[in-house]
Symmetry: D2
Subunit: 342 residues, 4 copies
């Protein structure tokens, strides 16, 4: 049993952490903070949690977070980098669900995120928390940078191809579609129901913050820099990411076997039978990434379809998966929810 | 640990039973039948269940259902009434999620459902499985008639008022809105996405099959016949029922206290604080019914708001709640899922 | 050909006015104002209007509105009451799509809207712009108070019953469901797609600002005060209002004939054949109100179903209908769009 | 004024033709046929058309279609090929909204559509009705093959690049997303609201019938065969297609100028300013195709975003555009609807 704190619990990753952690058998939620909602009962904001949790949001300064075994940052970018150091020094481990520690190149990070990094000295130590790649490092990490939602679906989809070295890694294409919850629980006109419903659009084509994160991840796998065109889209659903990935094959392989073998021991990656197409609802509310691999018309272009729930495997669920690894619990503990279908 | 069978597992109540029962600690799913899908793996139809269940749909005649401790009928109306008797005679208990045993007046049932009843002799024995009213009878029942989705939300909403005898029970109004999954997983044009999305309509205003079921239930509580206007509506969402109930007060009472006291020991009925409005997503995927009671402008009209997930408390979840009662398990076992929000 | 101005053109009623007026054969749009978007091209904000309109948003003080024949206020409540007087004095007629001039009782208005009225002396003159009731007054009006979206659907639905004096007007019930655009194009968390989609809820049950407006309108018809329980709901669609109205019959009449006769000459009210149920998409994008009247189970409760597009007949379309009347154009000119289905 | 007939008017392209043609100033709708709905009033099926059209569906054999100036086939594939010849012989011109005459290579057509072609001799004569490419031929055509919805958006998006010869035409990628109405008004489980809503998936990756149509069109432009990977997706909205197109640049050009110049005289193609992203609702209900062209991160991969309403520019609207050309009306007559936003 460990004591955990959550910083910034009023967003969608916050409420999703609460949904998962409040029924996790090895976790006691000690505190949840929010500067704007100090004193408000969590269930006042999130009726879905009535009967599950009795905490009130508290001020970060009064949360005694340094007495937690682990603190999750479910905050906007730029918060964790200011507070992580003190917690680590106090012996508290940290998982940041925002982007503060994802990019190893500080100046690259500062360019994309538009601010100076407050703790550049921690970046090297931070472990990028994609267990399917970094499991061993996560186990011993003090500080985990939880991956972004797009980067999770895209990297898991490209991984076997890049590892096998059988595609032109200079011209990868990731056409990715996200549900609206990916934009967060914040009042922006473009994600109003009357704007985003019955509508579809691409955005950020000139450049999106997840581009350098994906490129760094794929380059690490490839052992060299890679070229990627990344086009995110907003699709009128609440949860779900669907990545459609394209690469030019440079060698012939049994792609189905390649994918099945790569992920045969992964509890949260499911390779569909040949010819199938995953759908986002087949992972709704669960920590699973389902993948299918196609080679249409037997051409030299491989098409990979990869779906996740952006709030679970793309955020809170993966954070708990990392927590399980860090504290020696069974990796799947508390995150085995069956997808909600329909 | 009990062995259960599911007859008719290809609809939404079927897949929802599978979601719940496959993780229920006291249940072994012995067989699931479907005449149309004999030999098909369950996970072929419902990708969400991959890794959770290994069964194939089998023919009802080869399922050895009479060796189960319990059989759920998740079939269209008119099936359970043909097969229940043989199972009961073999010592197998039965929960029918369809309407075959809900109405005590056979001729009334035959009028609304347009067929002759195949087992009228079983109707008297069947227990109407609304635990909040019939818990004691459910415990010892051989045959449970699981309530309809509308009747569950409406009866739980009206119950305290009728029991207290403080409303004009001759002029009750139930204006109820249902998500589209309530119409089932069948190919009908009017529930296509392109028809039902971004659209709202009433239907069945002249008469809906759930009308006699609700009237029977409320009459039982009142101890006399009641008058009800029931207007169902189709709303563009997948899951959820929202009942807005109106009644004329004939006496003055503290309505908030009345509701809180009535349901204080009910694990699956949650009375919201005064002034609140429940929303359907606050119960999505869960077995909870949330209720708020209002008296707008201090007039003599009381307004009750009652929400459920039509596939859980309105169908599969309530069936498992009944199962738990019938077999002496903790009533909440295996149905404590936290609602999925957002 | 008249010159019109639009004050506050960045909301949904604004863009809807532009959609209609930019193709209206008798209208020249002289100016559209927005304090926040001065200098922005209208088509920059509303791509749908590219090629249709070349205006930029301008500052209200530079719009020469007093040289228009007519000014529409598509502003939040409390703006028109400050500016209408000067325009009227300059000979410019005014249609306010907000609520400033809808309620005749100033103190009642001030209670519900939470501000002091800036032009109480204009209230008596203002004509409530529901043509089906007030057509003759609209024709000669200088100042029209365009009805609210809920009040339009509810009043047109109840009108024949109240006029005929055949219902208990002390206990009317209006259970009304609105699409999310009714909440406006403003950044509020509760109308985000991730909040409002796949969700249904009532709101404002203790009291909603449209309650006094509806009660005033129905009382005017009845010739005495009326009693109304009004429960608005938010439904996950973009456009559309569905009013389900309940009243106790005090006399026997052929309701179908009553409704057909009352609206036989109304170009924008369509009475469906007996037994039918209107759906909101059957009026999407159009100025039509479709109504069906039912008497379920032959009881003494009449059920009226009334649907409109909240942005057209419930706002901009009705405003143009009023404009047509005020300036002697054919009443239907420029607002004969066929609903967009599916 | 011409007399037109519509064969197969009960689907979405049928009702959309009726929406457009019933207000077209040069068209008299003489007959609309449906074998299944003989004698049913059109407005019984499509309430949206009440007051606009008085026809009943009639049997094709009694429609005197050969006395029409023009017959639209809004039928499933395989119908027009059986009936077109007799009509053409009678002097009636034909526009087929299905696929019967789109593919010039008969055996290719028969392979993808799984049937023998009933009128192979007409294929050569048929004009592929994409006015932006074939305007001159359409004007004199007796028989027009109206393009598919995906092919319209994809071809208009790729056209300037292929004409200019500045991309590797052997490795084009079209990642396209469609609203659910594209699947038609037919009762299929996978397009139910409860299946398709809040869900996203690719389908037909191994091969989709629109692949050969697109390849033929692009090859005609290129003057040589081309290579294309085409991945269609189902997105939870009613109307709209969003094509995201990828190509490798083989030469340097000002892409923005290239696109603007190519379409400068096209009334229904709108090139957005540099840096913009079109959204499907910006064309909802209209005949417009909006396109943006990007070169992200200044790499050698060009990204084109192309949106249409699949039922208008992707079907009925384009058919009327072709009709206007064939009969010498102004090309934009009757199809200048402003998109419905929100």
């Amino acid at each position: 049993m460990i004591n955990v704190g959550i910083v910034g619990g009023t967003g969608y990753t916050g409420v999703e952490l609460l949904r998962i952690l409040s029924q996790h058998p090895e976790v006691n939620i000690q505190a949840i903070t929010s500067r704007n909602e100090v004193g408000t009962k969590v269930t006042e904001l999130f009726t879905s949690l009535r009967g599950q949790i009795n905490l009130k949001f508290c001020d970060p300064t009064e949360a005694n977070l340094d007495q937690c075994d682990l603190v999750f940052f479910a905050t906007p970018n730029g918060i964790a980098m200011q507070q992580a150091k003190a917690l680590l020094n106090a012996g508290t481990r940290v998982i940041d669900l925002a982007a503060d520690f994802r990019i190893k190149d500080v100046s690259e990070w500062e360019k994309w995120y538009g601010m100076s990094h407050a703790s550049p000295e921690l970046i090297a130590e931070a472990v990028y928390g994609l267990p399917e790649i970094n499991r061993d490092k996560v186990i011993n990490a003090r500080l985990v940078a939880n991956p972004g939602c797009y980067p999770t679906a895209v990297q898991l989809g490209f991984l076997p191809l890049i590892e096998a070295g059988i595609v032109d890694e200079n011209h990868l294409i990731a056409d990715v579609k996200s549900g609206v919850s990916g934009a967060g629980r914040k009042a922006d006109v473009h994600i109003l129901h009357a704007e985003a419903s019955d509508n579809f659009k691409a955005y950020g084509v000139p450049g999106h913050r997840h581009l350098p994160e994906i490129k760094q991840g794929l380059a690490n796998i490839a052992g060299k820099s890679i070229g990627l065109t990344f086009v995110p889209h907003l699709t009128p659903m609440i949860r779900g990411i669907h990545a459609t990935l394209y690469a030019r094959l440079s060698a012939n392989t049994d792609l189905q076997t390649l994918y099945e073998q790569r992920y045969i021991n992964e509890p949260f990656v499911d390779i569909l039978p040949a010819g199938k197409h995953p759908e986002t609802r087949s992972v709704r509310g669960s920590n699973i990434c389902r993948i299918a691999v196609h080679r249409p018309q037997n051409s030299d272009t491989v098409v990979v379809l990869s779906v996740t729930d952006n709030l679970v495997k793309g955020a809170a669920g993966q954070a708990v998966q990392n927590m399980n690894l860090m504290f020696g619990f069974q990796e799947t503990l508390g995150i085995q929810h069956i997808p909600l279908l329909p």
